[in-house]
Every structure is written in C-alpha cells, then in structure tokens.
Assembly symmetry: D3
Homo-oligomer: 207 residues x 6
Amino acid sequence: MNTTPRSVLAVGAHPDDIEMGCGGTLARHAASGDRVTMLVITYGQAGPGDVRARMREQQDASATLGADLVWGHLPDGKVSNHELDLVHLIESTIREVRADVVYTHGVEDTHQDHRAVALATLGAARHCRQVLTYESPSSYGFRPHVFVDVSSALDKKADALRCHRSQVADSRMVDLDVLHHQAGYRGFQSRVGTAEAFVPHRLVLEV
Amino acid sequence: MNTTPRSVLAVGAHPDDIEMGCGGTLARHAASGDRVTMLVITYGQAGPGDVRARMREQQDASATLGADLVWGHLPDGKVSNHELDLVHLIESTIREVRADVVYTHGVEDTHQDHRAVALATLGAARHCRQVLTYESPSSYGFRPHVFVDVSSALDKKADALRCHRSQVADSRMVDLDVLHHQAGYRGFQSRVGTAEAFVPHRLVLEV
Amino acid sequence: MNTTPRSVLAVGAHPDDIEMGCGGTLARHAASGDRVTMLVITYGQAGPGDVRARMREQQDASATLGADLVWGHLPDGKVSNHELDLVHLIESTIREVRADVVYTHGVEDTHQDHRAVALATLGAARHCRQVLTYESPSSYGFRPHVFVDVSSALDKKADALRCHRSQVADSRMVDLDVLHHQAGYRGFQSRVGTAEAFVPHRLVLEV
Amino acid sequence: MNTTPRSVLAVGAHPDDIEMGCGGTLARHAASGDRVTMLVITYGQAGPGDVRARMREQQDASATLGADLVWGHLPDGKVSNHELDLVHLIESTIREVRADVVYTHGVEDTHQDHRAVALATLGAARHCRQVLTYESPSSYGFRPHVFVDVSSALDKKADALRCHRSQVADSRMVDLDVLHHQAGYRGFQSRVGTAEAFVPHRLVLEV
Amino acid sequence: MNTTPRSVLAVGAHPDDIEMGCGGTLARHAASGDRVTMLVITYGQAGPGDVRARMREQQDASATLGADLVWGHLPDGKVSNHELDLVHLIESTIREVRADVVYTHGVEDTHQDHRAVALATLGAARHCRQVLTYESPSSYGFRPHVFVDVSSALDKKADALRCHRSQVADSRMVDLDVLHHQAGYRGFQSRVGTAEAFVPHRLVLEV
Amino acid sequence: MNTTPRSVLAVGAHPDDIEMGCGGTLARHAASGDRVTMLVITYGQAGPGDVRARMREQQDASATLGADLVWGHLPDGKVSNHELDLVHLIESTIREVRADVVYTHGVEDTHQDHRAVALATLGAARHCRQVLTYESPSSYGFRPHVFVDVSSALDKKADALRCHRSQVADSRMVDLDVLHHQAGYRGFQSRVGTAEAFVPHRLVLEV
C-alpha cells in the first residue's frame, strides 16, 4: 500500500475506452490504496446497446477495477461541439477529486471524440504534475516510452472489459486476444511481463 | 505467383536479425516466386555459439524461408569501424542480385551494429525504389505505417527462428511468445490477422 | 491490367483538390482497370466560379481521369462544423463503393477544410488496409516516403486540372508550372521520372 | 527515505556533464537513501585543467552529491573510436552496481562524445526498466515531458558544479546563472519550483 | 533604423498572450522603425477583470511596445466555434496592414483558443513570406530553432506585461520571474543575452 | 549592399555538394558584399575525375559564386574515421574567417560523409548564432521551413555546377533539370519565384 495515497483520474470518451487504455494501471492504483475515478464523457449512445445498458455495464466495469464513476453526459460522436463545456467539466472533476494523476486519450487518434477529450483534458489538467496519455485501437503514431507493469492486473482488466456485454457480443474473443497481444508486446518493450503503454504529457517523477 | 518475379534483398547485422524483422515477409516473397537473398553482415561471433554453428544455423534458417544466403564477414560488435567497406559490400550485393526491393534495420536502434547496417544500407540502396526498414527487439521509437500480412507465413518464420539453436536454448519459448504477440499486435494495427511492420525509407508503389 | 481490379476512393475538400494531390495516381489506377471514385465534399462555393460551373468542371475533370464523381454537399469553408456528418458520409461512401484503397488530404494543412476532411477520412477508413494522404499547396511539414510514378499520367493530370476553368483563368500557367516542378522534384526523390508523393496512414503491402 | 533503496547509475562523457544534466536529481536520490554511482567516461583531458586536477574536482563534486565515482579512462574527444569497449564498460558497470535506474546524455547533442555515450548507454542498458536522458548545453531539439523537482537540491547542484574549479575560472557566474534560469524554466514547465528535465528512453512507472 | 520599414502583425487569442510570446521582439521591431500591429482575438472576458478593464490594459500594453491595437471581438474560450470568421478576420487584417511579417501562437498548445488562433493564422497568412510561431505557458513540445535577441527590450516587455493589472494582482512577481528565466534560458540556447524563441512556419530569409 | 558585411562559411563533404545545397544563397551573399568561404572536406577522390581535376573544377565553381575556397584534405568516403580532426578543422576555419553565418549538410542524409560533416559542423559552430543546414540529393526526411529566394542567382548556381565537368559529363542535363524543379518547388513552398530550402539548427534573427 502507498503510504500517501493519491487521487487518480482517468478520462475517456466512451464506455470501455478507459479500460482498454489503462484498465490494468487503474486496478494497480486501486490495489495500492489510491482513490481512482473514471470520468466517461458520453454514454456511447451512437453504438450498439441502449444508454441504460451502457451505464450499467460501465458501472460494473468501474466497480471491477475498484474505481468511482462520473458521467460527462455529452453526445456521442459530437463531443467537439462542446469544447468549452468539456474543458470546464474536466476542470471541475479534477478540482473535486483533487486529482494528483490524470490519464486520458492520446492526441493522435482517428476518432473525433477521442481527440476532443484528449485535448480538453490536457487543457483542464494544466496545473497537474502527472498527466499521461494512453493507447486506443484508433491511435496512430503512438510512440510510448513510459510503461506500467500490469502482469498482476491483466485478469482484472479482462474482467472489466467483459462487463461491456453489449459491445463484445460476437467479437469478444477477438478483442481479448488483441488485449493479450498488446499487453505482451508492450511488456516486451518495457522488459516486464505484460504492460500498458503511455506517452507522457507532463510527468514529475518522485525519486 | 507474381507474373514478373522480383529480386528481394534483406540485410541484417547478425544471424537471426533478418528472420526476427521480416522473416514472414521474405517467406511470402519466396512463395510468390520472387528471388530472395539474405545478406548477414557478421557471424554473431561475440554471442553464444561458435562461428561454424552460427553459419550452419543461418544456412538452415535461410533455406527454411526459401532464401539464398550471403555473408558479410565483418566483426560482430564492431561493424561501424568498417563503414565504407560495409557500404561497398552492400552496393555490390545489390548490383549482383539486381535487387528491386531492399529490407534493412530501422535507424533508431540501440545496438551499434544495427544502426551501422541500417545507415549503410540506406546509402548503398540510394538508387533502389523500394527500401523498407524493419523492427528489432532493440528498436526504439519505431512508428510503422506500412505492414505485410504474414498470417500464412508465421509458422515458417517460427521454424526459421528455431533453426538458430545456439541462441534459443533456454529462452526459446519466451522468444516465440514475443514473436506471437508482436505479430498479433501489428496485425491488429493493420487490420489483418498477423503482420510484420515497416517504416518505409523510399517506396514506389505499383498501382 | 490488374487481374483483380480494386475499388479506389479519393476524398477531397474542394473541386480540384484531389486532382492536385493524386490526379496522376488515379489516372494510373483507372488505366489498370481499377474502379475510381472521387468524393468532393464541397462545391468550392466560397471561391470564384458559381456552383453550377464548379460542378460541371469537376465532372469534366473526373471524366478525364476515368473516375466516378460523388458530391458531399457540405458548405465550403465550414466543413469542420459538420464533423460527425462528414465521418458518416465518408463511411457510407467507403461502404457503397467497397473501397480497397483510400486517398485523402494530409493532416498537416493550413486550410481548415482540408484538415477536417483528412481527419474525418482517417476515422471513416478505420477498417481499410490502404489509406494514403496526399500533398496540397497548403500542406506544411509534408515528409513523404511513399511515391507513385506518374510519368505516363502527367498529361492526363494536367488535362484534368485545366478542366477547372473558373480557377485557372489568369494563373493557369503558374499552376501548371508548379505542378511540373513538384512532379519533377518528387520524381527525383523517388528515383523515377515524375511522381506524386504520399504519407501513408496505413498501408498493407502486397508482396 | 525510500523503503526499498535503489541503485542509480549516471553516465556522462566528461567531468561536470552529469552534474549539469542531473546533479539535483542525483542529490535527491542520495537523500532518499538510494545508492548513486557516477560513471565518467573521460578525464576531460582535452579541455583546460590537467588530468589530476580534473580527477580531484570530480571526486569532490561526486562526494558533494553523495555519489560514488567510477572512471571510464577513454580519450576525451575520441570516445566514438571505442564504441564496443564503451558498451562493454557501461554494461559491466550496470551489472556491478546492479543499476535499477540509469541516466545518460540525450542522443541529439552536437558534441561527438555526448552522442557516443548516449547511444552506448542505451545499448548497454537494454535490460533496465528505467533509462532517462538528460539535457546538456550542447543538446538540440530536447523536448522533455518528464521532470524531477530539484527545489530542495539546487544548492547542492551548484556546490557540485563549483567543485570543477578548472572549468569555471572566469565564466563561473555565467554558468551558474544559466543553471538558475534553466532550472526555473523547467520548473515552470513542470509546475514545480525548479526542475531538471528528461526525455525518457524506457521508464517503467511504479503506481 | 531599418532602411525599408516593414509591417509586422502579431496575433494572439487573449490580452497579454502576445506580450508573453513576443513582446520583446515587437518592441525591437518598433525601435527599428517597423510598423507593429497587435490583433487580439478576444477580450479575455472569461478570466478575472471586466472587459473595459482588459481593453484599457491591452491598450496601455500595446502603447508601451509601440504597437497599434486591433480587436477581434470573438468570445473567450469559444474561438474555435468561429473558425471561418476567424480566418477571414485575420486575412482582412493582414491585407489592411499589408503585413510582411506575422507572429502567432504555436499549434501545439493545450488552450483551445490558442490552437484555433494558431491554425487560423497559418491559413490566413498563406501568402506571407515570414510567419513565425511563439511560445506560451500552455505550449507543449515547443522545439525552437529560431530566436530574437531581446536583451535591449526585456524591460519594455516586463513593462507591457505589468500593464495587465487585472491579471497579475497577486501572482505578478511569479510571472515576471518566469519571464526572466525563460528569456535567460532561450538566450543561453541562442548564444545571446536574453531571447524570445520561435518555431518558423515559413521564413524567407534576407541575405 | 549590406551596410555591415558578414562572414559566411559553407561546409560540404565533397566538391559540388555546397553548390547543390546553397550555391544560389552564397551567390546572393557575395552580391550583398558578404565575404563567403567554402570549406570542402574531401577532394571527392573516390568518384570519377582525378584529384587535380576536381580541385580545379571546385576552384572555378567557387570563383563563379564569388567565394574563397579552403580544402579539408580528408579521405573521401571515410570522413567519420577522423571525427575529432574534422571538428578541429571546422572550428579553426570558423575562427579564422570569423564566421557569422554557417551552412552545412542536414543531419538526415544517407551518405556517411554528409552525416559526419553535418554533425561535426554543428559541434564546431556551437558558439555561432546562425547555423543552417541545406538539402542534398541524399537527404531524407528534409522538412524545411526556412528559405532563401534565389531567383536572381539561379543562373550563377547553374554556372557553378557546370564547372564540375568531371561529374556532369553525361548526366549534365538531368542534374540541371533536377536543380530547376527543386528550385521551383521550394520557391512555390516559400511563395517566391525560386528558392533554396534550409532546416535551421540555430538562427538568431535580426529584426
């Protein structure tokens, strides 16, 4: 357990984005005694699954990781139309949970909502000392040099992803296979078993 | 089968470097009727395994992929001391096999021999229209946007790597696991089953 | 002729953008038996020339290259206001023509419509295995490593550009001179006669 | 004090390089109970000050920071002539001190010895999980996203630099002014008082 | 005095942005006889200080630097909602003052208004031969290679910043300290006393 | 004429490298009254033409541009074997001609001598305030944002290149065609007639 628990905030555009990007890392934060909050900006209402189902699934997934859940209530696919509101929403969440560490999407991503959330988080977290961006299936040119060993948390990450039942109906196994390969590849790059990878925006290291 | 077979040259610093980086791609070239040549610059004499063993292993691996083998005879670990000779050696091999396509190490690599071979190949191949750089365990910052689907050739790649018996004694399974994860991750990025990844130096596309 | 013809989709913000960026490449695709579709997002209604004239000119230019023409009907200069619609529009066109190959603007471009079209296309083409970005007069920091030899298609490209009569009234010769210099410079870089240059977003190579 | 002290190795080409780049960070490591080793590759014999003076000065500076000192004995200005020896030297030092954390020059540096030491360290540290590159007066294009707060250690850093009496004869004040500005600027970027800046090569974060 | 005075236009999102980024450079332009215009896009109405106060402060600051002031009248925080208007506004200002030299925000900035102004200026200035981007407290990854020596103008820059009384109430000294460190650090990088730093977008040098 | 003439030093690996990269810019410097020196590191003895011929040709070319000529006497193809000597040679030439402006190869170049000269010049010119890198036929990834209008000097550049009679025997027209296309393309990018392009290493602008 960390002697001085920290407050960790992860921001993602849709249900399951955060789990994919840094679910194992969040599980490790929770296991260390850190307080973890997930801020999910939309309900993913444009995809398969109705809003109530997506909300329940995300609630289950967050509970699996040991995280609190906050919703952003913005419209799926159109997040960039609400740029200033989004910045304010993330700012106020950072303030409320007194976030020490912030995770968000990487800025090079082909999904418009991911880009909007990434950039808004960097702006909202301008006073935070630890801001890291995570990988997504729609990332491009992601060139990580920072990693977290998730060997002890990979099962929990898979469990959290399985909570998103409406998303993984047919394609479940494929997704978890990709998860497995990605974790193994990033683990190889970082010389640990399995890992999640990050591009740091601003990272003040404790030594 | 390709109606107009091409001559393909892959250049690597040590035995097994080429197989790791683009073994599946070479196997596919061979299967398409292209002529494939592997130019291995050193015998890997600084590592485990004596020179005669390494030579036999490499010969077996090249045969497995359907490739001819040419040795560069330079000293392992000290390739950069022979920069001009290296450029001339690769130039003359390109000329001799009339290479249409050239594969080599990426330039961002922490191994000094890999860097030296990468840079020398780029210089030697200055008139070639298709020069691609491949990934290695010591690559860093590798940001590929070009891929080859190796789903049908992954077994052959694994077979070729297993030929390097002196290198994989204890760590064999680990290596092949990494191979598997990397191929799966690159396949996911490129929307195919399994893939090898490349950063193009110069690539004239046929359309 | 290609034994297995492909479906090629080129996306551009305004009339003549696609011709400038990859007109020679499209002409070569058409000559090889590929089916070519040009999706032009706006009528360029903010510039000189009325909408009906621009439509006729674009129709002529597309016919010159051997391509079908589809219009996006979005307002010139304000494409980014319709981000989600734009993604859906490009997705449905990709689906409709079953695009195997997609060309679009590069993401580093000083024109707001070009950036919006580039990013939306990358998102819409997230399942495509060949997505290439082309150069524009407003590109910046364009660093191509992929090229297509357009020596046999440069006249056709010039013819297609000349169809845009409302745009080239006075400046015609200047524009075609620039076209000529650019093609010669890119040809020199790629070791062919004249070329068009691309930055690949995702390119699965056939070997 | 850290409950599990780590072994920290900093590698620099010449006397005073390490202090300039990460002297404050090393002082903080020492204060936390970590074991700190400085590996200085040359005596700086090509500059002002004789070898014996440089050795005494470096010994004093290392003691000021609470670090052990190891010499690499290579010729100043010509480090790249001994590339393989350099890799072996750093490998054996890493093994000997069982380094958990490694600091070295950034790879983009206009001094030939700095580049050679940077690249050799990245190769030698290929199994280490925390490898960070530091800034130098001859760095270019240094784009840091990782920082260490050195507010409590800046005096010690200045003291260590002052030990290099043969180097700062006339220009002392200038140097310490630059030190002060750099620390203030990097502190501003990282939202702390004063900081040292790093580009991570590979950084496995504890969470 | 310059024998052929130029027209210089600096564009910034909010009051005090331009002064922070290139106030010293503008003062030097004015001292050389160039005509300097500052185009401030919003009143900064979302921050502390009412609009009338911000306008007076900006007027004072511009006068201090010897510059004319033009307002853009767009809403603070929501500049990107007016992308096309913004481009037109900057285009018409460029035309009106016949700008030879244009300064604007860098494109990598965590503040949404800064990004919008940066990109719109690059588009609007597409025919200008000297377009340089400046640094801001919210810049990230700023990697300058172009500098202006502001040793003789730093006092004037500080004076201009002090005009923004509503912004620097409590934090004044901190801000000016940062200013001082930044100028010293950039001066060190560029081998002059104190400097402002720029990333050139397009810079035609007179030789 | 410049009221305060400057001393300009251009460094190149082989005869004709400097002319190709920045011959027009040097001619303009000379026309403005600046003193221009060309430091050519090798005689190009590995290529066609004997040493005496190459020397005479380079002498003629330098005279054509209005430049003094200094030879570096290092062996063609093996410049990197003399790294420290090369740095000292360039340092002493900078000191001797009191260079205000330095031009050299870009660092991303597939020719080993070009890379060695580029890096050594950046080190040697560490105190200079204007250091610019030029383009070469073997450059890769060259991404210029700084340009010099050479419309008035292109004929002189072509004349200087024609002096290298041993190099352009058969291929003359090709080379001058490429020169023409490159100048036209770079001119288009920089919004002037014809231009030479540069990546600045360090550039202190006069305003």
